[in-house]
Amino acid sequence: MTAAPTISAPTTPRYSAVVKTSVGFVAVAAVCLAFADISITTLDPWSEMKRMAWGVLTPDFSAVAGLGMVVMQTIAFALSGVALGAVGGFLLSQVFHLGPVRWICASVRAIHELFWALIFMQMLGLSPLTGVLAIAIPYAGICAKVYAETLEEAHLPALRILPRGTGILSAFFFARLPDVWVHIKNYTSYRFECGLRSSAVLGFIGLPTLGFHLETAFSEGSYSEAAALMIIFYLLIATLRYWMRPKLVGIYVLAAPFLLGGGAVIEMSNIVRFLTVDIVPAPLRGAALLDGQTWDNLGHWAGTLLIDQALPGMVATLLLSQIALVATGVLALALFPLISEKFFGPVVRTVGHGFLVIMRSTPEFILAYVFLQLWGPSMLPAIVALSLHNGAIIGHLMGRFSDEVRLRPDSPGGINLYGFEILPRVYGQFLAFLFYRWEVIMRETAILGILGIATLGFFVDSALADIRLDRAMFLIAVMVAVNVAVDSLSRHIRKRLRLDARAREA
């Protein structure tokens, strides 16, 4: 009689590439944490926190003068900027296959709206155009990419049957556009919600939107007024689908430019000076270009800038964003069960939804601003703000995703359900969301420099404040390079791990 055949089992467990990658990222973040500057420097954060909490409980709507106009202008800037960006993005998406177009789009979207605003401020002053372009330009870069991908991925069987001799325009509008239109529409309306957040934040640098009044209220310590402003902002976003009707979009967009308000007069001489003098590296201005000494000076200028500002800024930006990325992931994994039917009843889910909606509707810039008031300058407010906002976004998407999972009738409950049934099924999607968000976190990290955290944005902001625009441009170029590098690394990892690409709205 022969022995029953046995399958020789490996004696040690083997881990998948997904798990190894995750562990790698956590390890990197842990190392970063050791070097990060994390502390609470304010003398009495608790009493400030109590005053804020009291403000939240007693919102004061009467204190905000001309509230209607503020809301109107916040919407108007978002509408004008997003409309311009979407149209520009759509046109660019048609030539997105050209290498230079792709590069330009990647570069313009690597620069955050706030930096665009600061750049245009140098040319146009505090005019409405500054705010509109600050939203329109990066959004055009993002929309171009997403629209192009949507058109490319679409299954378009009708292209095959077109009669010979059909013109390009007719083919495009009949066979290509209609079946992707709904995706483009949905994405654009999602972009508009982002545009509202951008518009509000632009107020922090002086444009007449909600952020302007928010900053005033915060700096004066009138937290009841600040709470009222935030509540208005949440209501604006929560009611979006009731007032943003497809049929009204045209009217809104036409009306918006008239509601932007006046502002500084645009002077051509400023624009010319900015383009021809201000952004030219100082050693080159008026110098003899054929003189070897000039180029030595330029080398010295760039070298000093790189070592004194760009590198430290880059290190801080990378440290902070790696920590924030992992914290975002941990938070998202902890939060998503709160809104999942698989884990909780309606009461907990409602509370969970409320929390996630507030956290993802609040721009991270505002969250960071609040925590900075509480805890003083260090990386801590930035990490908490970035991970709360981004964790809430991913947690929300994951919660919805987990509800789609079909369980067997006798599946376990509680922590076993989470660990054995749900998490393994949603983890790939989770990583896709997170890696898609990586580039966004990076960009946000950079702008938090404006609040005084020593990331790249801090050095850009200081250079702008000193009116050394050549330095600011150099540092912004470094920022673009870092962002594009992270974006391509993220794409590489997503591809290698074969993560689903349905993460665009993350």
């Binding site: 049957i161 009669p163 013109g167 007719s170 079946d179 239109w181």
Partner: protein, 219 residues
């Protein structure tokens, strides 16, 4: 004899991998050809090669009916005539269908039983209705020939006869891949049977009976 299609001892397939080998075929104007054989035998390959080689205008009815799901039946049928109008006129009809075009298209869709669906989205129709929409589009398009890949696969016997009769009136030359052997014999003038990567049968339909085709489906 006016020859429309000619293949001479050719290997046909995708990406260099031949599905069919040593294919020689000549199709003259006025012929009604039925391609028969097991599914996967290479009928679709042969059809798309014929379509791509032909220089003039032919109408195509692919197996996936090639519809724009978010557009109405009217618009999908209208697409068969895109080449006849300027881009501006086409766009005008996309947004606001002209009465003249509606009147042109209405009788075609009514004949194929889609009269009440004219302004419904193609994506919301049943498989059979989608297939008939694609046939209406081909009829509107017209051309020297129509090439159809199982155009009546989702129709019952009665509907199939209406569809084939409509195609017969609209086109002089017809090449259809068909799985219903009886219908193929009834409708076509010539049968081409495909088996084992080659043409196993090529004969006038009038000289064949059903049992002559049985060997094509035997393994």
């Amino acid at each position: 004899m006016n020859v429309l299609f000619r293949l001479n001892n050719e290997n046909l397939g995708y990406d260099g991998a031949a599905v069919l080998r040593g294919i020689s075929i000549t199709v003259a104007a006025g012929e009604r050809l039925a391609l028969v054989g097991e599914s996967g035998a290479g009928k679709s390959t042969l059809l798309s090669v014929l379509q791509n080689r032909y220089d003039g205008n032919t109408a195509l009815i692919p197996q996936d009916p090639g519809l724009v799901r978010s557009l109405s039946v009217f618009h999908n049928v209208y697409m068969g005539g895109l080449h006849r109008h300027s881009a501006a006129y086409n766009l005008l009809n996309l947004i606001w269908p002209r009465q003249r075009e509606i009147e042109r298209i209405r009788p075609i869709v009514e004949r194929l039983g889609l009269g009440d669906k004219l302004f419904e989205r193609a994506g919301e129709l049943s498989g059979g209705q989608q297939q008939r929409t694609a046939i209406c589009r081909a009829i509107l398009q017209g051309g020297d020939a129509v090439l159809g890949d199982e155009p009546v696969s989702a129709a019952d016997n009665h509907q199939s006869r209406i569809i084939l009769a409509a195609l017969g009136e609209a086109f002089e030359t017809i090449i259809l891949a068909m799985h219903d052997v009886d219908l193929a014999l009834e409708f076509s003038t010539r049968i081409i049977g495909i088996k084992d990567g080659g043409i196993a049968l090529d004969a006038p339909a009038g000289e064949l009976v059903r049992s002559d085709l049985d060997f094509l489906y035997r393994t």
